[in-house]
């Protein structure tokens, strides 16, 4: 099994990344409402995945490397997700102290 992708693969990945960059900048001008967020983040995530898999050789690495590559993002999801449970439910019970600055 090869340890690295070939320069030809690197070039293909680079072109794909440029295409995705064009796509994400373009999509920002299309009014999709709240889906603009989703599209922008989804494209960012796919670009990151391409970089991780090919440029960072994770495609050719051990399961262990996969695990640690994914772990950081999972833990970040925990930080974002559980913090969000507070900020998105705070106004469910109207109270003057929920967001005092408003």
């Amino acid at each position: 099994m090869p340890r690295l992708a070939s320069p030809r693969t690197f070039l293909k990945v680079f072109i794909a990344l440029l295409a995705l960059t064009a796509l994400t900048t373009g999509a920002a001008f299309v009014p999709l409402g709240p889906f603009n967020d989703a599209v922008a983040l989804l494209i960012a995530a796919s670009k990151a995945t391409l970089v991780v898999l090919f440029f960072m050789n994770v495609r050719y690495s051990s399961r262990l490397t996969w695990a640690f590559a994914v772990a950081g993002f999972c833990w970040l999801a925990v930080l974002l997700g559980l913090s969000a449970t507070d900020f998105f439910t705070r106004h469910w019970i109207p109270s003057p102290s929920a967001f005092p600055w408003r």
């Binding site: 925990v78 559980l82 507070d86 900020f87 469910w92 600055w101």
Partner: protein, 541 residues
Amino acid sequence: MSTHPHLHRDDPKDYLHCEYGIRSWLFTTDHKRIAILYLVSITLMFFVGGAFATLVRLELITPQSDLLQPETYNRMFTMHGIVMVWFFLIPSIPAVLGNFLIPMMVGARDLAFPRINLLSWWLFTASGVFVLITIFIGGVDTGWTFYTPFSTFYSNSYAVAAALAIFINGFSTILTGLNFIVTVHTMRAPGMTWLRLPLFVWSNYATAVIMVLATPVLAITLLLVGIERVFRVGIFDPALGGDPILFQHLFWFYSHPAVYIMILPGMGVVSELVTAFSRKRIFGYHFVAFASMAIALFGFLVWGHHLFVSGQSLYAGLVFSLLSYLVAVPSAIKVFNWTATLYKGSVLLATPMLYALAFIGLFTMGGLTGLFVAALGVDVHVHDTYFVVAHFHYIMVGGMVTAYMGGLHFWWPKISGRMYPEGWAKIAAGLIFFGFNLTFFPQFVLGYLGMPRRYATYPPEFQVWNVLSTAGASILAVGYVVPLFYLFWSMRYGKIAPRNPWRASGLEWEEADSPPIKHNFEEVPTVTKEAYHYHEGVRLG
């Protein structure tokens, strides 16, 4: 498999005597010598933190503020917290015993990155110097939690200096964790499968995962606090649209898992001690091993229980309260399995075992009162009272410090090559156990009666319990000073330790000398047996 022609494995000198001079210590890359460097540094910090605790307890003998001004008192309990948490508890078992033992337990010559290990100690030393400077220029009064906007705008003390010390300290912790993770994954000896690893290694691995994934969030949060304080711009300041509770979320995302950094390694030590002094294989090895990982994982899901009365959403509170109960499951598994290991074992009550038994009892009390404060309703009553103070001291002092003392005695023959004096050690263990309970049990009562934490004064009706607590603290102090003397004494006059004085299992006892040679083993051992292969019924000693 290739071997190193340049390694002199027949060199008979142990790691303490293979080189001499101060440079051979300060710039060593030997994990055992670095462990000793950590031992010296954290012992110093322990007594610094202890001095602050002494002043706090002395002030609280009387209801008025007489020994210390309230402002000074605030600085004393803050510095006590900062020094004890980041400069003693977090490095205690991982950086001293973990550093010394993990390579030996997995059958390796050293950690994966010896120079990073040394860097880790130097960063720790640098952060220690910063914290001492902070103390000398006047200290901090924000509490160890640095809550905003007090820490960023109103506090008239040296919050940035202290935050900087902790920021640097964080990198030391991260590098230690990184080293442990890589070592356990890649440096195990032939035959040392994951399920043959001693439970001490499992629990330190779980700790290392927390160190690596939680500490960076503390670093960036303290950086934000520093920026807000220095540049006077709003990040968490409500006057500028910021939300102070967001600071608490970020802080506790680190600091709750950090509580498990301060208990998991202790659990690992106790698993070793209970098996060695019961002459039995641990009951339910798999459960104890995976419980460590479960605690590390669940530990990241519960931080919101520190925010129940801070203005956090009630619904978030419900989620966090429920998740907090999850942690009780793996913790209880461990306590039950240690107890089951004792059952029908040939129990020898040597000093390390006394500490281990004390740990089981005190940790159970600390853990169960943790369930009280994790319950939304009860927490409203006991939040920010001495009940919470007692609860976490039962975990951190009753649990972690007790386990650390037990581990230090257990592996002292391996570390120093000498036996400690058993009689004195038993007296000290007894003093610590008695003094600890007398210090902190009255605080449960005080908290339940409603005495808030972090005040220099209190209503006179609380005085009796406070006097009891201070009396206990003085006994506890003696209990901690006595080992300092006899352990020093034993380095010169103690009985020469054989290779395996406890007839314990584990590569560090069976394959390495006391004290070990520089590269731990004459040759890399091949492991053929499970961990804790004790023959049941054989008496020890």
